[in-house]
Amino acid sequence: MNAIVFEDVTFKYNNLDEPTLSNINLRIEEGEKVLITGKSGSGKSTLAHCINGLIPFTYKGEIQGRITVNGKEPGSLSLFAMGTQVGSILQDQDCQFVGLSSGEDVAFALENDCVPPEDMSAVVDRALAQVDMLGKKEQPPQNLSGGQKQKVAIAGILAMNVPILLFDEPLANLDPASGKKAMETMIDIHENTGKTIIVIEHRIEDVLEHGFDRVIVMGEGRIVFDGTPDRLLAEDLLPRCGLRQPLYVEMLKFCGADIHEEDKISVLENTIKYKDQVVTRYLEDHFTDKRPDNRTILKLESVCYRYFKDDPFTIEDISFDVKVGEMLAIVGNNGAGKSTLLKTISGIAKYQQGSMFFEDACIDKWTTKQRALAIGFVMQNPNHMITKSMVFDEVAFGLRNFGTKEEEIDRKVMKALKICGLYEYRNWPVSSLSYGQKKRVTIAAILSMGPKVIILDEPTAGQDYTSYKEFMIYLDEIKKTGVGIILITHDMHLALEYADSSVVLSGGRVIARDYIDKILADPLIISKANLKHTSIERMGRLYDVEDISSFIAYFTRRITGGAL
């Protein structure tokens, strides 16, 4: 039986001029496991809203064509009736988790259904056990990690006993290791219950490694691909749609491998047949590692910090340095102490032990403001930073606060706008820019103040591959001007491709400080820091390459193309 059918569906939001979905024809069978992908603005979220009933009930617009979910038309039902057909897990775990404890959150739908409290307990316990969270039943959300909150969200949907599960960007806010666990939970549920599973996600590699039957690619409101992962990976469609192929596929294509659907390369092990081609390429080609300047700008020496006097240190004995024009990645899973470290560097949190040096001067006594002029800090969410309505004013804001003269402001702002590719937009309202452009505005706003070091917190969060890639190119430009850049991230791909070197944090301590490829070749560090093995590394091991580190380095740099 068909779980979901779209017949020539076109949808236009009331406040937009153009339709967001055009002529969608789609059939999803009961029990299928489908990935729907596409870059930002491709219409994939709108498609999800059509499936779970938010369209037409919450988001209003004109709809043409016919949608049926389990044989019923959403428009003829209510949002509540749709809720019994499709269980949705939204991308923001904190918004999905409305209860004050795990158990309460799982019971939420049951409470709304007026299930008597005495009957709820068993259902809640079973659902929590299914996602391995029974031990955390009494915990408030503040005590849970992002991955754990997501598991609770999944349990909440399982308790509703719906036939279709819809995941909207489930990996967006999770670190790679938690993301992997979340995917595994989903696969388990699929295997044990046979429910239809639809995952909307642009991080294709992280989904496909879990064996999906089918991929649907959206582009500009239309379905541009609908077929098996094997066929998708054999074609060249993904890069054309602004989406990222799995790393190892990029690598195979770079080596000129001839790939067909029958080769079934969605399973990494099936790429063994290209071994000779890849290894030959690797051995024949050469590249030299570019090592950064050796002048140090920022240095940390055994910095320790704790929030309360009686607590153990949240970060302990942190030492590393940043050189002129270096891009340093600080990687670690959620809770490793990344944000605390950030607070100590920016001066918001006063470290109790250790010292920091800026261009050889000790800055332990510097105030937040003094530090801000030397070390710029870009937050994860640009919407948390932007306070002015016009692009120019936003970029000039910091300078104006520090009392810079207006003609000097003009010069500095223009320069920063040019570096960040925003010069043409200087007279635009910030609200009409895309998310990626807003992100660049926040960087320009920091850059205009002339810091020697810029720290970026999760710079690629919320961006699809196209805007991410563009963004990193601008960052590379900034790096060339001699500014030291610190990326704080759990995104391995990012660190691997763009950073010169890396500091790995785990449990509040530095467990490694090295060139990134060396770190990623070390299984011990990977497991200790709860990072994720990249597919290039797995390829290297599959092909019995001796020097994994140089293999990783070679291919990462080659496929990003820029950083050699």
Partner: protein, 276 residues
């Protein structure tokens, strides 16, 4: 306040076992009792009985003390202000005039001083039972308790949402302020004048609101998709049937309320001043 933003302290006591709605009823009855009188004797009795109840609740005094100290300081300041602005207020009520302190036109009477003491004790008398409710009721039970005493469940649930998101929103406020501070916006005393600092808070308001509006939209979608508001009523995971103990306390609270009204009606309790 703990990480989750609640004051709840886990203990095994008679009050921890009591249903939240009963404690809420007790709180209401107690507050009415305090409102009905202006009588030191009543307040002293309430304070003593309240402290006795607190003792029964087995709450660590370390957690309760700061709030008691706070109310004490508050009542001192409030009395100070009262004496400053209306130094003869007590005399107007009693009709007697016994001068205590006098500088020129400004005279404080003993009646007013005694009034300050009465008023302070009144404020303090409300405290024990409020503390009892806050510290022995798990936040998960707040909403269901409100609903149980007649508040519509949608309104009651918004209290639960507030408790759920206070820590998240707090972190966001800090984040936004820190980011702006790093860009040279002055928020601290000494960095700029009052006017400038106030305007600077206006700067952070817009990003804070936009992000809150976004949160409201997503949370309400998440709740809609899980059937919030589907039925005329809803059940509550943490709610259980009333026990005998619950009923006993409810009756006692009701009795206190009736007693208060009866005394108030019979003697028309006004300001009690013993030193005529």
């Amino acid at each position: 306040m703990s990480k989750s933003g609640s004051l709840y302290i886990e203990r095994q006591s008679i009050f921890h076992g009591l249903d939240g709605s009963i404690k809420l009823l007790m709180l209401i009855a107690w507050t009415f009792l305090a409102f009905a009188f202006m009588d030191v004797r009543v307040f002293l009795a309430m304070i003593l009985f309240g402290l006795f109840l607190l003792k029964l609740s087995k709450l660590p005094s370390k957690a309760v003390w700061p709030l008691l100290v706070f109310i004490f300081i508050f009542t001192l300041l409030n009395s100070g202000l009262l004496l400053l602005i209306t130094p003869e207020f007590g005399s107007e009520l009693t009709g007697t005039y016994s001068k205590a302190v006098g500088i020129g036109f400004y005279t404080i009477t003993y009646e007013t001083i005694f009034y300050c003491i009465t008023l302070s004790l009144k404020y303090i008398s409300i405290m024990p039972i409020t503390i009892l409710f806050l510290f022995t009721t798990h936040p998960s039970n707040f909403a269901s308790s409100l609903n149980r005493i007649g508040v519509p469940y949608r309104v009651a649930y918004s209290v639960s949402i507030a408790l759920r998101y206070i820590p998240d929103v707090k972190a966001e406020v800090e984040n936004i302020i820190n980011a702006q501070e790093a860009r040279g916006v002055a928020f601290r005393k000494g960095d700029a004048g009052i006017g400038t600092r106030l305007r600077n808070y206006a700067t952070v308001m817009v990003p804070l609101l936009l992000s809150s509006f976004n949160r409201i939209e997503v949370v309400s979608n998440a709740m809609d998709l899980r059937g919030f508001g589907k039925n005329k009523s809803r059940t509550w995971y943490h709610r259980r049937k009333y026990s005998k103990l619950d009923i006993t306390f409810a009756v006692a609270a009701g009795f206190v309320l009736v007693l208060a009204v009866a005394i108030k009606v019979s003697i028309g309790a006004v300001y009690w001043y013993p030193f005529h």
